[in-house]
Amino acid sequence: MAHDEFTRLLHRLHQAALDGRDLSAASAATAARLLHLQALTLSLRAASGTLEPLWGTTADGLGAGLEEWQYTLGEGPTVDAARTAKAVTEADLTTPAAAQRWPVFTPAACDTPARAVIAVPLRLGVATVGTLTGYRTTPGPFTVVHRLEFDAFARTALNLLLNTQPDTLADPTGTAPGPDVSLHHAEIHQATGFLSSRLDITIEDALLRLRAHAFSHNRPLSDVAHDVLAERLHLALDP
């Protein structure tokens, strides 16, 4: 049963995130297959809102290639999902409406086997941390069940993403500096808000700043957050 297999995948990845594993714990190919997609990519929102590829399937022409196109063009479903913080779907990339929506991206996508696309923002409170994008080679609407499953995978991927080095994926066995039940730590989100107001930067940039410090000093994010709130650690703008 594909559904059972998907539920088991989610559960295993949820546990992996609690154990401090990063995105390398998840096989993009397996996730794509269980989500009935031919390509799946995760883009990270870096400083000043630029997107970077972080994880995904490696199918020729699909996925990574189309993501790179979007970053360069500043146009497309991934870019829209990151900018608007809302889910974006296009059921048929060959239609005039799709071409009108993304005048440069759509023709480029149609040169590949991609025919339908779904992109959801990875949100932590009001911060958009990245985007999960899926491509399908057959046109057609995404059903409610597909959307829910895509959302569920996106949430799990977000947990793993928070354990992932901001600049690069670590080696396949790499782990974050100690288990960090990130989403359970209210202090991480409090410190993000605190830093955002003290440094007068966006909540996204404040989170990046916290994570950069945690990784460069090999400390759990929750410890860094605690010290920031206790005003024992004063983070300046530059890492």
Binding site: H14, V181, H184, A186, H189, Q190, G193, S196, S197, D200
Partner: protein, 238 residues
């Protein structure tokens, strides 16, 4: 028969939990449930835990200390708030030291020595638990436990009947909204602490009071503040 002041306050609490607009904020509802529990019962604090994809998560707490003590249990993977969310049954006031050796010392440091819980249930499903943090196991009697269960049930019915989405998927969507919303609230609290130099508790009280005064959803106000737009008329301490 004389109506006591406490009876009036109980009726007000039930009325407050039952009468919510169609687009009510599920996180706000659950937060208010913890607030009413603290106001009406001899408890140190209250929190709500749920089972989310077979993992226990906290939804909200009446105050920062209760939030920390609930988080501590999730991190230690031990404690009454975890057990109550997993079993989703009521827990009579129970002494901590005898059952949860790792969590008990942390709780004692905050003056909490016992915990009770009632289930957070909807007509069609069990969600989790309303946890009551106690300074003394004898501070709640059977009648108090019944009162706590009735408050939780009132909030549960309101959650289930909102937008006529009385189906499981609709309820789960609201639960997810509450879980997402709590992060927004924490970000907003941090923002307010950074700006006004107040405590986290004062930030939360200020948020709730402002949302109520402006008839704005708690999560919406928190999102606005977390994006750096603090309303000019916002008063950090009321």
């Amino acid at each position: 028969m004389v109506t006591t002041e406490r009876e009036v306050r109980i009726a007000q609490a039930v009325s407050d939990l039952a009468h919510r607009p169609a687009d009510a904020d599920p996180l706000e509802l659950m937060h208010d449930l913890t607030g009413h529990a603290v106001a009406l019962l001899a408890v140190r604090g209250a929190s709500i835990t749920v089972l989310d994809h077979s993992v226990v998560s906290y939804v909200t707490a009446s105050d920062e200390t209760s939030l920390r003590l609930t988080e501590d249990q999730i991190i230690l993977d031990e404690g009454p708030c975890l057990d109550s969310a997993r079993t989703r049954t009521a827990l009579a006031p129970t002494d901590l030291a005898a059952h949860w050796p790792h969590f008990a010392p942390r709780a004692r440091a905050e003056g909490v020595t016992a915990v009770a819980a009632v289930s957070l249930r909807l007509p069609q499903m069990l969600l989790g638990a309303l946890n009551l943090l106690l300074t003394d196991p004898s501070s709640l009697d059977d009648g108090d436990m019944e009162l706590a269960q009735m408050l939780a049930d009132t909030a549960g019915y309101t959650l289930a009947h909102r937008r006529e989405l009385a189906d499981t998927a609709g309820v789960l969507a609201q639960l997810q909204a509450a879980l997402d919303g709590r992060i927004v609230v924490e970000q907003a609290k941090g923002m307010l602490v950074g700006r006004f130099g107040i405590s986290m508790d004062q930030a939360l009280t200020g948020l709730r009071a402002h949302a109520r005064a402006q008839q704005q959803r708690l999560t919406d106000l928190a999102a606005q503040i977390a994006r750096g737009k603090i309303p000019a008329e916002f008063h950090p301490v009321r």
